[in-house]
């Protein structure tokens, strides 16, 4: 029997002033799974995450989370039902300290992966008293991650975490993400750095122009005619 599908994105369309940023995208993620979402710049990866996390409303299609439609639900409601995320451009509470950044997060009662100390977990605890504005952009991304983990999500969306982190930091974070997924959390990872994706996941979805053009493992993706064309701009 196939594992329970935690998230199902069904034929979602998002239009910005006539431009179809998402043009009927469908994907699903199961509990405990790590799925990579890749594709060239502007293919709609972040928009997809913005829709799943409730920041944008879809113009068509539906999103099912735990079997129920969450279309049009606001972010704080989704946060409480178990969806959380990081941001491509990190969005810390700049004037608050690192510790205060995680303190304000509402923790869910029924959490799969309870991370006792999210700051420790992402390696920021030595900066607890620092104002978030003073962090590097890489550290701010880790802070986004710590905040998302504090909520205790069942589905975690990670948007381009790698940029701004050193290879050593990346290795640690990859381990940590795998640890989270082992505890039953589903992860959807957007990433340009394919080595990082490879380290984390077997299954990738390749997007182009708001559509899925490939789904499978990364090695086969690299062999796929359309994927190669898209990446080489052919």
């Amino acid at each position: 029997m196939a594992p329970e599908r935690l998230l199902v994105v069904n034929n979602v369309v998002k239009i910005f002033g006539g431009f179809r940023a998402l043009d009927g995208i469908s994907l699903d993620v199961s509990a405990g799974e790590i799925v990579g979402l890749v594709g060239p710049n502007g293919s709609g990866k972040t928009t997809c995450m913005n829709i799943i996390s409730g920041l944008y409303r879809p113009d068509g299609g539906d999103i099912l989370f735990k079997g129920k439609s969450v279309r049009g639900k606001s972010m704080h409601v989704l946060s409480k039902s178990g969806i959380n995320r990081t941001f491509q451009t990190p969005k810390p509470f700049k004037g608050l300290t690192v510790r205060q950044n995680v303190e304000v997060v509402h923790r869910r009662a029924d959490r799969k992966a309870s991370v006792d100390d999210p700051l420790e977990f992402v390696g920021l605890s030595h900066l607890s008293d620092r104002e978030a504005a003073a962090l590097t952009s890489g550290q701010q991304k880790l802070l986004d991650l710590a905040r998302a983990l504090t909520a205790g999500p069942d589905l975690l969306l990670v948007d381009e975490l790698a940029a701004g982190l050193s290879p050593v930091e990346l290795d640690t974070i990859a381990e940590r993400l795998i640890e989270i997924s082992r505890r039953g959390v589903a992860l959807l990872i957007v990433e340009h750095l394919l080595g990082f994706v490879n380290q984390l996941t077997q299954r990738v979805i390749v997007m182009n122009a708001g559509k899925e053009i490939f789904e499978g493992d990364l090695a086969s993706a690299a062999q796929n005619q359309r994927v190669v064309e898209v990446y080489l701009g052919q």
Partner: protein, 306 residues
């Protein structure tokens, strides 16, 4: 945490003692009363601007509505003055609910929108077709319930309650969520904070404060006109005092009000031209060198301390 609690309690005790003791040694009670009016209004601005980032140029609208709300209930329905004051606050809340779509604006658009709203409130209240209710442009006379001492004490109560509320925001998780919303509303939503509802709550709390202050003010002066309780400089003073001292702190707006309102009374009344010059220079220096107010001199890291 305990230190912050103690320092907030200390601030409240000092304020209470000061305003109970001062009339005995300083004969100009009306200055003391005005000082309290601005202490409360500055904290109201602090709650809205310091904690959520909305700067309401039209804040005086709630003050005026509170003054009129109280007067109408007292003169037409003959409610006791305390009930009248509470109803004045309630009237301001109702105005706040009606004006809550303003919160969809941000930055300067919100400031100017709130200014326009306060003008609309002014035109409604002073309209001669409402003469039966508000006495239109001819003002209100509450001389029959005039009580100098009691209204002074009532204002002190409002000041203390308002200050205590700011202290609560400083210490509570709720206050931290407000700061989070101010810093980044998208992240705040993702952290599980209901941003729209929270903003409206704070907006109504600020409206209530200005409404109560307006109601007690009306009681204290007992004769007033629409233009005196909807006067824009009231907003501006409260805003400048808050910004000068520093928002999102308990003590900042208090220090700002004492220094600037004190200065206004020392030189502003006798030598208005020097006063305006010094005021202008001070405000410019503030914007240039201390954009987060005087209190930021004492805080190097994060948002902490009282």
């Amino acid at each position: 945490m305990r230190k912050q609690l103690l320092s907030s309690a200390l601030i409240l005790v000092v304020l209470a003692a000061l305003f109970l003791w001062a009339p005995g040694v300083y004969s100009n009670e009306s200055v003391l009363f005005q000082l309290m009016v601005y202490l409360a209004l500055a904290q109201g601005i602090n709650i809205l601007y310091g904690f959520t980032g909305y700067l309401p140029f039209g804040y005086v609208g709630f003050f005026g509505i509170g003054a009129y709300g109280m007067s109408v209930f007292v003169t037409l329905f003959h409610v006791p003055i305390v009930v009248g004051i509470l109803l004045g606050g309630l009237t301001a809340i109702v105005a706040g609910i009606i004006l809550s779509p303003l919160l969809r604006l941000s930055g300067a658009y919100f400031s100017i929108g709130s200014l326009a709203a306060s003008q609309i409130l002014y035109y409604v209240v002073s309209n001669s077709s409402l003469q039966n209710v508000t006495n239109g442009p001819y003002g209100v006379n509450l001389i029959s319930i005039f009580n100098d001492a009691q209204s002074y004490d009532a204002m002190l109560v409002v000041v203390l309650l308002t200050t205590a509320f700011v202290a609560y925001l400083r210490l509570s998780r709720f206050g931290k969520s407000l700061l989070a919303i101010r810093e980044d509303w998208v992240s705040a939503e993702m952290a599980g904070i209901p941003v729209v509802r929270t903003r409206i709550l704070v907006w109504l709390a600020a409206a209530l404060i200005a409404g109560l202050v307006g109601a007690v003010y009306a009681w204290h002066i007992s004769v007033f006109y629409p233009e005196s309780v909807f006067s824009l400089p009231i907003s501006i003073f409260a805003i400048v005092f808050t910004l000068f001292g520093g928002g999102a702190t308990v003590i900042g707006p208090i220090i700002g009000t004492f220094i600037l309102y004190g200065m206004y009374n020392v030189i502003g009344v006798s030598e208005p031209q020097y006063f305006q010059l010094i005021y202008g220079v001070l405000i410019m220096a503030l914007v240039l060198f201390l954009p987060r107010g005087l209190m930021s001199l004492f805080r190097r890291r994060g948002i902490r301390g009282a």
